[in-house]
Homo-oligomer: 177 residues x 2
Amino acid sequence: MDTDKTVLNVIHSRKSVRHYTEQTVSREILETLVRAGMSAPSAVNRQPWVFIAIDERQTLDELGSRLPYARMLLKTNAAIVVCGDMKKAPDEWQQEFWIQDCSAATENILIAAEAIGLGSVWTAVYPAKDRIEIVRRSLNLPDHIIPLNVLPIGFPDNIDKPKDKWNPGKLIWNKWV
Amino acid sequence: MDTDKTVLNVIHSRKSVRHYTEQTVSREILETLVRAGMSAPSAVNRQPWVFIAIDERQTLDELGSRLPYARMLLKTNAAIVVCGDMKKAPDEWQQEFWIQDCSAATENILIAAEAIGLGSVWTAVYPAKDRIEIVRRSLNLPDHIIPLNVLPIGFPDNIDKPKDKWNPGKLIWNKWV
């Protein structure tokens, strides 16, 4: 098994997993996923992120019942919320980058989950003000912490399949013509 | 070699590579990287991206001499520019998501590059208006295509090393306290 083929295969196998088995996701696994997130690049290495790992039933149910696109939280037993830390993005210019940095960290978590045999799905929170407020209140987040998304985590029951999104028309060589 | 360890190792080994050997990056490799990019998730699967793969000396030199943080383009022979396609993001709400979607695609490319034995570095373009204008003019980009970043691609000469960015203080369990 070659490293390049293994990794490319996992990148292409990653999918939005919305159906899970009842197997419990351990704290060890959640920490492994968050470690992958923290190894993402960030603008001038500011690492303007915080990761909330959730494994309490009550909190999962609260978020799952209030966030319309994250109802699968009601059926899984773990989630990660990727947040931007505005104290690490002190000026307006820096603040533009936390979204890019936290999105890269999110993709690391999703790829790591696929590699470990877990499934997840990126449910957007930012920039929807109502969703930000729901997550903020449920998790007691202070004002300088902005949730970008909620990632339900679970063991997939193999209903969800990856899409082939290759589109040669979206690869341009050298200059727009 | 287990899939999970292989992939996690590559995620953690990914680094900003700014020094390259003279070995040429083939179009086959560039296409492999762009395919990885296109397999990223996107909000409601809109795939609001276009990838410009550059292997012409003149274009690399033009960008490398005009973009202050992408001078390494003068010393490599390939690059990928990840762009948002505003025609795939028709309303204001959708437009908020292209940055997240294209950032996830970028991270896929960076991880794929590391897996293949290549190196790259995320040099930001958006939201800096002057940098967007430089890239737009060099690549003849129409108004609805916004460059997010420029990724120089090359074979690393092993000067650049990964950082250990694990910070247990940025992992919070369940609720902010």
